[in-house]
Amino acid sequence: MDLNQLTIIQAKEGLKRKKFSALELTKACLKRIKNIDPKINAFVTVIEDIALANAKEADGLPTNGQDLPLLGIPISIKDNFCTQGIRTTASSRVLGDFIPPYDATVVRKLKDAGMVLLGKTNMDAWAHGSSTETSDYGITKNPWNTDFLPGGSSGGAAASVAADETIAGIGSETAGSIRQPAAWCGVVGLKPTYGRVSRYGVVAMASSLDSPGPITKTVEDSALILQVLAGKDYFDATTSAKEAPNYLKNLNKPINGIKIGVSDDYFESVNIEVKEKVMDAIKMLEKLGAKIKNVKLFSPKYAIAVYTILQRSEVSSNLARYDGIRYGNDRSYFGDEAKRRIMLGTYALSAGYYDQYYNKAQKVRTLIVRDFEKAFKDVDVIVAPTSPSTALPVGSSKNNPMFGEITDVLVEPSSIAGLPGINIPCGFSKEGLPVGMQIISPQFREELMLNVAYKYEQRAEWYRIKPKL
């Protein structure tokens, strides 16, 4: 196996045993990026010099007692996280030459954990989308088939992980932007509880929904990164002081008796192959000892309206700071999708419409929160397909003004409720495209979904299959 194909756990083991150095590990990733990124365009910025310098430093550090969880591990970060001294664009020309004078809290935590930053990954501009087609820096292609999209908005992050350009990646989700590209690219994507991980330094999309999270090759890797990132942040007033449990400790706990909720509405209008694969996965969970229960949840299609209004309203306000005076370019540089969303959001908040749209959406939001609370009285986690289909062909999002929101229908309700969710691969379509399954758990109970995900993953072993690039 090439070094860049390793997981975090494997890489840590290898580094510890001095089978290879962090420098060699980093060089392997950089070589891979050089070879295949021209084909998939997962990266906006690659910082070769800095990465090599970080790796050398990591190798030079004495290993006495200092167990930095990510020491020497190459990571890719979505380009909406501010990285001090390194260009950060959110894949928009508006921020084409913006170099942040500060690090996002997530970036600082990863640095403190010893990571080697490889570069910034491509995304839908401003995270507006589920395809990575709206990027001003070219489309990212799906590593499994470059005629297809990787999903979005963390498409670059998911693709870089799936293609083994990096050991792990960091993305962000407002509603689907981690889970959906993870599903389309066949990797593990974890969206934490809203408020579990700091948003400070992440280019804001929808303030009441944005959640940074890891995109990795395995569930254990995901738990490891979540452990590094979780926690209250002085600079983010919406982070919780609830202590994060040990996410790694009980991954392998048997799931006998765990109640898994399945809702018929989440299988409606879902591609038949996706349905099959997810149903197979659920059967396997049953074999592993879990109890499958039918739950009645609001049809996810109502979440589309709620999400569209809340997100676009908050977007219209969050993008108001981009006037080109203090940084970046002026507002004429916004792409179509951004302009559309800003307009709709401005309209929904404007005089006379606030009650009808934004306030109404916040009320329906309460109903969705209560709906899940009720379901979680009967079950421990909820399982469903992540996306109604496998990856769609390049060009699918064009001229579809609600592509993003409609594609993400199955993840929107949990995002609206602020719940955590994880995508794990659960098979392939006949075309060879990955199918993803999501597990949703109650607020701040990430360890539950990680446990179920891990047990399934270790039995199904989909991670062994890699794209042929």
């Binding site: 909406n80 950060t88 959110a90 942040p100 007033a237 203090r326």
Partner: protein, 485 residues
């Protein structure tokens, strides 16, 4: 200023800058005045991508205290909202403020003409003296953040409009906004209110409220109400418009600006037209108000709750604790001085004008009281008050105890001096018979010679007039032949 047909209807919006150490939503220093531009700035107050606001606890407490000092109710739950509009001095493209659920609501303040003026009341126009016990209702007191500072640089040549410079040091400084109902009926009441507001926030020690430094900003909205008498009944029509006036940056111009605007509106109304509802700016140079170019279409602020800041919930206990932290306010203190120390309204008002003076006075009284109890020398409280008020005592360098001693010494030395003076005057008259004869013959200047001689023999600093008086008195008892009787 007020026509018998038209009554002024004025409401006030005052912004007060809090003197917290740090800004409202970030840890930058809030002490921005006079610093190099853009040196007190961080990602939050600069509006960088990804930056998030975290509210300043002390600023919130101080806002509540201001509300309490204005007799407001403090709702248990309040929150911040976003006020969305575009302007180069607004880095995020929205201002974090409060809209639907502010910290303080429904208060009032009493303007007491006689209380505040004392003797001066007699100089005031009758109309104004009628406004006794004027109650001004406070609609709300809430928190928001300040904008950056814009400085306009004119162009070098006529066709060059010039450019504007932006300094973000002020961006994010905590502001408390105090909004009244349109209860003011005269410019005089407005000035009274502003002075009182300034006094209260200074007493609370939450702001220096110096208007010239921009620490206190005023935006009156002004309209005129037409009243007529029909069949002995007073009929009044509510105004159908109101004009907001901005850019009044100095206490000096408050009266002028408002009076100008009232007069401008009166002229329009008397020509049977209605003034346009608009925002006008006070032009200090030309001493007029001018229509402002509209910054943006119909102020559609698209308020919505600030998602980055969770709501604030107070307990009754916390509100009680904040109430306890409020020092005795000037009105109450003044009344207490009048009742407790038997001082005049006028003198009490002067003593309480600044908290430091009032504190000094009471400390001196305390020291004096201690002396009295110990059977040591003490003075009359009224003289303490008089000394502080009339003799311009430097309260920063002279300790209250020292002041008491000085007062005691001066009353003693006065007595002592008089006796000594009389002795020496008699001696000087004896020693200078020629001068005495000259004076008696009518030479007024001779007495000045005698004054000089006397003063040589007296301790330095004695009042020359006092000496002259004593000489003249003594000289008047002598017969024309100059011999001492």
């Amino acid at each position: 200023m007020v026509d018998n047909k038209y009554i002024s209807v004025i409401g006030l919006e005052v912004h007060v800058e809090l003197k917290t150490k740090s800004k409202m939503f970030c840890g930058c220093s809030a002490d921005y005045f006079g610093n190099e531009p853009n040196t007190h700035v961080c990602p939050v107050c600069l509006g960088l991508p990804g930056a998030l606001p975290v509210p300043n606890k002390k600023a919130i407490e101080w806002c509540v205290m201001i509300g309490l000092a204005f007799n407001c109710k403090i709702p248990l739950v309040s929150k911040f909202d976003r006020k969305n509009y575009f302007y180069p001095d607004l880095p995020k493209g929205y201002q974090i403020s409060q809209y639907g659920e502010p910290f303080c609501v429904n208060g009032y303040v009493i303007l007491n003409s006689f209380q505040d003026l004392g003797r001066e009341a007699n100089k005031m126009p009758k109309q104004v003296r009628h406004d006794r016990e004027k109650k001004i209702r406070i609609r709300r007191v809430h928190m928001e953040e300040d904008t950056a500072k814009l400085i306009h640089q004119s162009g070098v040549q006529n066709f060059d409009k010039g450019y504007s410079l932006i300094d973000f040091n002020r961006s994010g400084v905590p502001l408390v906004e105090i909004v009244t109902e349109p209860d003011f009926e005269s410019t005089y009441q407005v000035v009274q209110y502003l002075k009182k507001l300034q006094q209260i926030v200074r007493y609370l020690n939450v702001s220096n409220a110096d208007m010239e430094k921009g620490e206190m900003r005023l935006e009156p909205n002004i309209s005129l109400r037409l009243t007529t008498v029909k069949n002995k009944a007073l009929i009044s029509k509510l105004p159908s418009y109101k004009v907001e006036v901005k850019n009044i940056n100095s206490f000096r111009f408050v009266e002028k600006a408002i009076n100008y605007e009232i007069e401008r509106q009166r002229k329009i109304l008397e020509s049977a037209k209605t003034p346009i509802q608009e925002t006008r700016g006070w032009d200090e140079k030309r001493q007029i108000t001018v229509a402002q170019r509209v910054k943006e279409e119909a102020n559609e602020y698209r308020y919505f709750p600030e998602p980055d800041i969770p709501p604030i919930r107070f307990t009754q206990d916390q509100i009680r604790q904040l109430t306890d932290q409020i020092p005795e306010l000037p009105d109450h203190r003044s009344l207490r001085f009048q009742k407790g120390y038997d001082l005049s309204t006028y003198n009490s008002q002067i003593l309480v004008k600044e908290k430091s003076t009032a504190n000094y006075f009471e400390e001196a009284v305390r020291v004096n009281q201690k002396s009295k109890i110990k059977n040591q020398k003490y003075v009359d409280i009224k003289s303490i008050a008089n000394w502080i008020i009339n003799k311009k005592v430097d309260i920063n360098t002279i300790l209250p105890a020292q002041l008491i001693q000085t007062i005691i010494a001066s009353s003693q030395s006065t007595a002592f001096e008089e006796i000594e003076l009389k002795k020496i005057v008699k001696q000087v008259i004896l020693d200078n018979p020629k001068a005495v004869r000259d004076y008696k013959k009518g030479k007024e200047n001779a007495v000045m010679f005698l004054v000089g001689q006397t003063m040589k023999k007296m301790p330095k600093g004695i009042d020359a007039n006092l000496v002259k008086k004593n000489l003249e008195k003594e000289l008047s008892t002598l017969s024309l032949r100059g011999s001492v009787s």
